[in-house]
Amino acid sequence: MAEHQITAGFMPLFDSAVLVAAREIGFAAKEGVELRLVRETSWANIRDRIAIGHFDVAHMLGPMPLACNLGLTPLASDTIVPFSLGLGGNCITVSNAVWATMADHGALPDLDPARNGAALRETIRARAAAGEAPLRFAVTHPHSGHNYELRYWLAGCGVDPAREIEIVIVPPPFMADALAAGRIDGYCAGEPWNSVAVEAGTGRIATVKAAIWRNSPEKVLGVRKAWANAQPDALAALLRALHHAARWCQDADNHAELTALMAQPALLGQKAGIQMRALTGMLDVGGETTRKVEDFFLPFGKAANFPWKSHALWFYTQMVRWGDVRHTAANASVARDCYRPDLYRAALKPLGVALPGANAKVEGALTAATPVGSAGASLVLGPDGFFDGRIFDPDALDAYIERQSPGA
């Protein structure tokens, strides 16, 4: 019997790959961890089952542990984030009808967030002028990177997402069907759920998370704080296993094996070929156009697994912006304390791998891939720019929050 038994909840999404590989390729076993994976049907179930102790850890949306700790959700327990499960991976997909109008307003199949955002703004204005119902966009959860990046993009293009469009929640596997049936006009979701709509001929990819904010945070490993405190050795062993699994997932030599593994019905259950787009960044955006997106999804590279406090704090600024939570010094502290780079560093130190020296960074400051000083081997970060050229300095939190009034 393994030294540590750990139960993890996960959602059938591609970015659960690192957890899946840790178990299936044997990295967890090598660290003395028997990792039991339990597939769930909703984020609410993950939240409930981690709260009552069915799960020790879980695949979570980056802002979700913040929402738990800030008291925004029922039945939530203190949750910490000692590991990020990857950067990027999402797209914004629109219906063919919306795309046609956007194209009339200058949209091109090049995923450019500024140009295509402006075209969407004109589409929204034209509908409003004609007295038509506002466009309805779906995201996967209110406290998700999807919701906040969709809103950030629209607001940056001069659209007030709180008033000029309707935002609803749809589970990712149902997005493409909802789009085809006309129940929604667009959505922000992780892959492969955008490619599924393109493949069906019912949607076009307008832009991607990697273009709105390059190398930005997405899913994380949420850990029940009480469990982490009681089982520090088990947690450290799990983080080392996840580190090796993430490195394995990033390596192109393993992509065929990874996508075949994820294709199993008990895991993601989507064909290997369509999953490969997220790994290569070669996206069929619709209309017979394929675009190569740099850093589309990183399970490991660019310090993808490091739980930057600046990522948590950026999510917090967006929660404040859209009225989820009031900005106070106490709330900002809760957000800052939620992500735990100290636990990541302590667990990985014995491996002698590259570790960032800082706990937070100025987001959007790197315009090119930049080697950074770190303990041990070399580490490359960035580029990490926001599409609107803004910079988020976590040390100037108040000023950033003040400047970003809703809809501005």
Binding site: T41, S42, D48, A51, L75, P171, F174
Partner: protein, 199 residues
């Protein structure tokens, strides 16, 4: 103290389970119960029904959508929150384990919701037990068929009587410390591999 009867909405894609919950609620004296099996157009239904309590199965993949909708004032006139009596962690655990959750309108008293929750938990558990028993019965029937086929194979290939064929299967199972059905299944599989009508 008499209170106005509660309006209860049960959202469950499983029609049988929903019906079991409904009958439980009616037996407990709740006359105003509505069942919804499909979440399409649920916002309009909620606006029409104006439920005080909503019972949802945890398998429902639309739970995130429903939770977020309950918080939107546009969709519902009164805010609806998940029923969590934080002082009663055993009840919370029992609900999650049974696979059910309840959402209640703002201001509804705890003591009015608790019996509904308890009833839902016990009915959900009863349904799971029933489903499990049905599954076991199906498996049992399947096993019996396999043993019958294995006996037939032995009778044909070794010229044994039915009793002797059965005794041989049983003896093999005991010697190998395996289940009778497993030994029978091995024999059936082997017979299939060895060709059509081979044995």
């Amino acid at each position: 103290m008499s209170s106005s009867p509660l309006n209860i909405l049960v959202i469950d894609e499983n029609r049988i389970r929903a019906a079991i919950i409904e009958s439980g609620l009616r037996e407990a004296g709740h006359g105003r119960v509505t069942l919804v099996h499909d979440v399409a157009g649920i916002a309009r239904r909620i606006a029409e029904i104006e439920p005080d309590v909503i019972v949802i199965d945890l398998e429902n993949p639309n739970r995130d959508m429903l939770e977020s909708m309950f918080q939107l004032s546009r969709a519902v006139k009164r805010p609806i929150a998940m029923f969590v009596d934080r002082s009663d962690s055993a009840a919370i655990e029992a609900a999650v384990e049974a696979g059910v959750s309840a959402y209640v309108v703002d201001g509804l008293r705890k003591d009015r919701v608790k019996p509904i929750m308890e009833m839902a938990i016990s009915r959900f558990n009863a349904f799971s037990r029933m489903a499990r028993e049905l599954e076991e019965a199906r498996g049992e029937l399947e096993n019996r068929r396999t043993v019958e086929r294995a006996k037939g194979i032995l009778m044909r290939s070794r010229g044994l009587s039915e009793e002797a064929a059965y005794a041989l299967l049983r003896k093999t199972a005991m010697n190998q410390n395996r289940k009778l059905a497993d030994v029978a299944q091995s024999l059936v599989t082997a017979a299939e591999l060895l060709g059509p009508g081979g044995l």
